[in-house]
């Protein structure tokens, strides 16, 4: 059962101070020109509180865009392989949207599949997610179409719901969240009535029917003309995958000289033509339409079979960032309605 409290806006600064004094870094949305991303902040005044959604998702906190997996060094005839230091800082992700918090649960499922990924899990164990419920949404948002909502608690350790200009209703949902609250209990007050906070939540229209979508997509797999039609304008860049809070495909790169080097894990994207290129030269997905189909199928069909859930949280980032305006919700709606 969630522990319900209130938090006044002016108490945020004190809470931030206490969190930092306890040796934790705070990553929060920060504006930089026209874009926003999760960066380290020291005070609430640095946080871009009013942005509907950050340009980049918070996934880099647990799944960096480039990380060392091992180091190697040749010594005479021997090869010495060592683990790079893995001591990520204790991190509080503040101001995450509920969709992004839910994405953490999908990443958990991906990276705990056999074998569990210790790089991800070490970072994840040291990360506390403080979400802020959405009071505004834009045309790209579609969380309600994928079973979430502007106030969902999935994946959050603490959910803050703005109640009025002065503060938040704070649902403390996990022990991790409780520990962060206990760093500064005096910042919190008693609970408010439930109806007071529902009123402020953003209205996000449902764009397509999720029930049965997975099977429906599987049935459309061979309808080449649909996929070609949808993807003609796709340029084949990796923006959608890289801004996505859920996409977790990676590429392994060895970097080094003849004597020593490191093995790196780097973000990858199924939109790239190289993604499935075989050493033989054969590419099972040589057309962009096949790569687009893969993106949709993986998120909404294959993931259901493998993880028991879809791999999309409706944050809308891919649609906002796509230079060619490949709007995911529009395309899914068209697929759901395709004759």
């Amino acid at each position: 059962m969630a522990d319900a409290r209130t938090l006044r806006r002016e108490s945020l600064a004190r809470w931030f101070e206490a969190i930092r004094a306890a040796g934790r870094r705070i990553l929060a949305p920060r504006a930089r020109g026209d874009t926003t991303a999760f960066e380290e902040v020291t005070a609430p005044s640095e946080v871009a509180m009013d942005c509907v959604q950050t340009t980049l998702s918070p996934k880099a906190a647990v799944f960096p865009r480039c990380e060392e997996l091992l180091r190697y060094e040749r010594q005479g005839k021997d090869l010495r392989v060592t683990d790079p230091p893995l001591q990520p800082p204790e991190t509080v992700l503040f101001g995450v949207r509920p969709c992004d918090a839910a994405a953490m649960e999908v990443l958990d499922a991906v990276f705990s599949a056999d074998p569990p990924d210790r790089f991800f899990q070490t970072r994840r164990a040291r990360t506390t997610v403080i979400a802020i419920a959405c009071t505004q949404a834009d045309a790209a948002c579609f969380c309600t179409s994928v079973g979430l909502s502007p106030g969902s608690t999935l994946g959050s350790d603490i959910l803050l719901t703005p109640t009025d200009g002065a503060g938040f209703a704070a649902d403390v949902l996990t022990d991790k969240g409780r520990r962060i609250v206990e760093l500064c209990p005096e910042a919190f007050g008693p609970a408010v009535a439930a109806q007071e906070r529902r009123a402020v939540l953003a209205q996000v229209p449902v764009r397509f029917e999720l029930k049965g979508l997975s099977d429906r997509l599987a049935a459309l797999f061979d309808r080449e003309e649909l996929w070609v039609d949808q993807s003609l304008r796709c340029l084949g860049c990796g923006t959608c995958a890289f801004v996505c809070p859920v996409c977790a495909c990676f590429d392994i790169q060895d970097e080094g000289t003849g004597r020593s080097g490191a093995r790196l894990r780097c973000w990858d994207s199924c939109g790239f033509s190289l993604f499935t290129l075989h050493a033989s030269g054969h590419n099972p997905r040589h057309l962009q339409s096949q790569r687009w189909r893969q993106r949709v199928m993986h998120k909404f069909s294959y993931a259901v079979g493998r993880l028991g859930r879809i791999a999309c949280v409706g944050c809308g980032r891919c649609s906002r960032a796509c230079p060619a305006d490949m709007n995911l919700a529009d395309h899914l709606q068209a697929l759901a309605e395709a004759k």
């Binding site: 874009t35 480039c66 045309a139 304008r233 990796g238 790169q253 190289l274 305006d325 709007n327």
Partner: protein, 267 residues
Amino acid sequence: MEALRAKARELLESRTVQVVVGHEQGSVPGRPRPVFVRKIEDVDRLVAGEGGTINLAVYLLKPEVQALGRPALVADPAALRTVLQLASENQIRDGALVALALDDGRLTELKDLAAIEAFVAERPAGLPAEDQQRIAEIEAMSREDRWTWWLEQFSRCLKCYACRAACPMCYCPRCVVECNQPQWVPAAAHPRGNLEWHLCRAMHLAGRCVGCGACARACPVGIPLDLLTQVLARQIEADFGVRAGTRAKADYVLASFRTTDKEDFIR
């Protein structure tokens, strides 16, 4: 807009072209998106797309779009310059497309490269005042500050390659960053990998960039990377008196020489 739709209808009906590559209303008002009109009943989707993110000429070399047949390209002056530059690099044959030039809302049908050349000659490319000012600000920095400033810009790069995908002049079937035997450029999005990618990109486009700005508009993290190729274009024009995207037949300025060149190192 009506003139554009009427012309598109006429070209499709007469089978002069099989597809009209243009803009339609996108999911965000004021931000039209690419559309590929193949059926007469779809011509009303076309809009005279001011404010599009993409240089539509990028689609001319895409296999999926080429497979649709001969195109009519709804083209702003930057897309027309792109067509000329692609022709000069032997990527487009004369008569391979019909250009529907849109300039200040006026439509002109350009049937061959000579017509495109003449049209472009009357509309010399100029750098927007905003870009000029940004370049002036960057150039006013000390060498060290400028280096630090660009490193900071590149550090945000995700290596999503949207800049490359959006660039009509980046048409290599396999980009140098994807040649991995040996790996010339680090694939990782770490500071060195990002720096090397952006240097490579700028140098490969030196004297070839037509200044459409699509790369910077495509960048999800807002790196003003078009400024690099804009400055290179300006430098090359100052040194050699040529500008990319003005002629359909031209030798690449950095890969050719004349016996009358003022430098004598090669004689």
